[in-house]
């Protein structure tokens, strides 16, 4: 059984559970939905900017295309949410790789990437707004306990996952952005490597 309750399923359940007469609930839910969409568009657009700054025009175009499709309403929230998380992870992996191989950025790339970083970092503030909208929906008396629980779990899960993806990307950038003025790129070895490398363990 799939324990994780999907974002879209929870939204649908909640909207069905809230009778049309209770206009406040529908308003809160619409607010929550719009807030999430705005975050996803901003995060995807920031990720596209980051790809562009790093010099990967194709990935930049693809990611920007997803952001535009979402904005037009061509993509559902769940597809957009997954795309955002994977796109964040992809650009994060690329940044970590640039740091690992010791490739710095040019002055222009640094400025462009710093601007993309700020855009992505801004979404962490937007998540707080989305959570506030969600909290108001959950306080409504017209939604039953089970739906509230489902919605609560879904919101917490979605927000936590999206927040985590964004945070990891931001952390990777912060580490790499210091690369230009210092000796970076060294990470602790994995347990697996130490286990399989007796020469290192014997030092």
């Amino acid at each position: 059984m799939k324990l994780r309750i999907s974002f879209l399923a929870a939204l649908t359940a909640t909207l069905l559970a809230a009778p049309a007469a209770h206009a406040d609930d529908a308003k809160y839910m619409a607010g929550f939905y719009l807030a999430i969409k705005a975050i996803q568009v901003t995060a995807l657009s920031g990720t596209a900017d980051m790809w562009k700054a790093l010099g990967h025009a194709q990935k930049a175009q693809e990611t920007l295309g997803i952001a535009k499709d979402l904005e037009k309403g061509d993509l559902g929230p769940e597809v957009a949410q997954n795309a955002m998380k994977v796109a964040s992870a992809e650009v994060q992996a690329q940044i970590e790789e640039l740091e690992a191989v010791g490739a710095p950025l040019t002055k222009e790339q640094r400025a462009a990437a710093a601007s993309a970083y700020l855009k992505i970092a801004g979404t962490t503030v937007l998540w707080v707004g989305a959570l506030a909208a969600a909290k108001k929906s959950l306080e409504s008396d017209e939604i039953d306990g089970t739906t509230k629980l489902m919605l609560g779990l879904a919101m917490a899960g979605e927000v936590a996952e999206a927040g985590s993806a964004t945070n990891q990307l931001l952390q990777a950038w912060r580490s790499y952005s210091q690369f230009n003025s210092g000796l970076r790129g060294l990470k602790a070895p994995s347990k697996e490597l130490m286990k399989e490398a007796p020469l290192l363990a014997a030092l």
Binding site: I66, L98, A103, T106, N180, L200
Partner: protein, 435 residues
């Protein structure tokens, strides 16, 4: 005699400007501007990249004035007076650069150049009359810059000059770029807290065991290994001075041979003196570090990763992930020097053969050849920084992680106890968690 120097200060934020002294006292010195290590005749060769501008007769007072203003803004513990025998100068001791070629890992995979700039400045306290050095506090700035075209000499000189430019004006809510030289310099000078009659430290030239030397010369020349020894030594000096807050005695602080003058510090400080030969104090403690052994290993994993394509479609693609590990064992000795002691160590060893290991990894997609020598260089420089921090944090977990298997059954707690005895009780350095 150097005026009473403050013992401790309360720092405020960089943006907040100067910080207050606990006891309100100040170090009163004459500001002697910017100088450079060595004699005037060496300026154009040793400091080729700075000679045309920063160290020229026109450029020096401009840069010196900017550094003076920044010092006054950031550190109210230092007061510049019109005239005093006690003086302070910012002495540039290294201005180097290295150009590395590399292939851009991202499309279009074009040829790129990474220019690594290194600038070391020593804050030097001295007596103008007696030409005695009271304290040398080194600080190093490093900056990597990538570019598609190989830089010409004039580009390099212009970049070095630009480091000393005032940071651009900030709009409301903007933070200064932490990578800027002047931003980092300001932070360093704000933390400059010389203590009267401070213990002095020296680092003996870092040595390599035969085994380590043999391994390193597989991927580098003997000259490069020798150069690496000098680089680790000077980085260790800088890190120790920064983290312990103590002045260094440059050049290992070795005493002169019988009948010869002791070690000297030769610097050109044109705004106060001409070329000067200064007498150095004897170090209170001398650190010895030996690179005892090195090793590397590689782990290749076949994995898959998710990628997002156009229209938000997510697919999985197979990838090869490589993890390269680089490690070294270092042997640490610390000696309380005694001029009458003619043994190998020249004094009493207060830390004897602490063997520590340091391992780091690089992880990337695909398989790549990394220059091993360069990785050991980064590893060793990072180790000196970590080690100096660990002397202050005395963190048992850090010691446990870095304790070499060659230490047998020695417990981390025993090492920690020794470090407390030495750094806290003998040197009077309170524990600090700041890394």
């Amino acid at each position: 005699m150097m005026k009473r120097i403050v013992a401790s200060v309360l720092l405020s934020s960089l943006a907040g400007g100067a910080y207050a002294q606990e006891d309100g006292s100040q170090l009163e010195v004459q500001y002697c501007g910017v100088g450079y290590l060595g004699q005037a005749k060496d300026r154009d060769t040793t400091y080729r990249v700075l000679a045309p501008n920063v160290l020229s007769d026109k450029g020096r007072p401009e840069v010196g004035g900017r550094l003076k203003k920044l010092s006054q803004d950031a550190n109210s513990g230092v007061k510049f007076v019109e005239s005093s025998n006690d003086a302070l100068s910012y002495v540039i001791s290294a201005a180097k650069y290295e150009v590395q070629e590399y292939r851009n890992p991202l499309p279009p995979n074009n040829q790129m150049y990474n220019v690594i700039y290194t600038l070391t400045i020593q804050t030097v306290l001295f007596n103008k009359d007696s030409k005695e050095i009271k304290g040398v506090y080194p600080w190093t700035y490093q900056f990597n810059d990538a570019m598609p075209k190989k830089p010409a000499d004039k580009d390099i000189a212009a970049k070095f000059k630009s480091f000393f430019d005032d940071p651009p004006a900030l709009k409301e809510g903007e933070e200064p770029d932490p990578q800027l030289f002047m931003v980092q310099w300001r932070e360093a000078i704000a933390n400059f807290r010389p203590v009267a009659n401070a213990k002095t430290i020296a680092v003996a030239p870092v040595r390599f065991s035969e085994a380590a030397q043999k391994s390193l010369t597989k991927s580098a020349s003997k000259d490069s290994v020798e150069g690496l020894g000098l680089e680790i030594t000077s980085t260790f000096e800088t890190e120790l001075s920064k983290k312990l807050g103590l002045p260094i005695v440059p050049g290992g602080g070795a005493s002169g041979a019988a009948g010869e003058a002791g070690p000297q510090y030769i610097a050109s400080i044109p705004d106060c003196l001409n070329s000067g030969e200064f007498a150095l104090p004897a170090p209170s403690y001398r650190f010895f570090l030996t690179v005892d052994d090195i090793a590397s290993a590689s782990l290749i994993r076949k994995e898959s990763r998710k990628v997002v394509g156009a229209n938000g479609v997510i697919s999985e693609e197979p990838i090869t992930r490589t993890e390269n590990g680089y490690g070294a064992r270092y042997v640490l000795n610390v000696v309380a020097p005694d001029e009458s002691d003619s043994s190998e160590w020249g004094g009493t060893r207060i830390i004897t053969d602490h063997k520590l290991r340091f391992v780091a990894a690089k992880r990337f997609t695909g398989e790549r050849q990394l220059n091993e020598f360069d990785q050991y260089r980064k590893l060793s420089l990072a180790f000196t920084s970590d080690l100096a921090s660990a002397f202050m944090s005395r963190d048992e977990k850090w010691i446990k992680n870095q304790l070499s298997s060659a230490m047998g059954k020695t417990k981390p707690s025993a090492i920690r106890k020794e470090w407390i005895e030495i750094f806290e009780k003998r040197m009077g350095l309170a524990r600090s968690k700041k890394r």
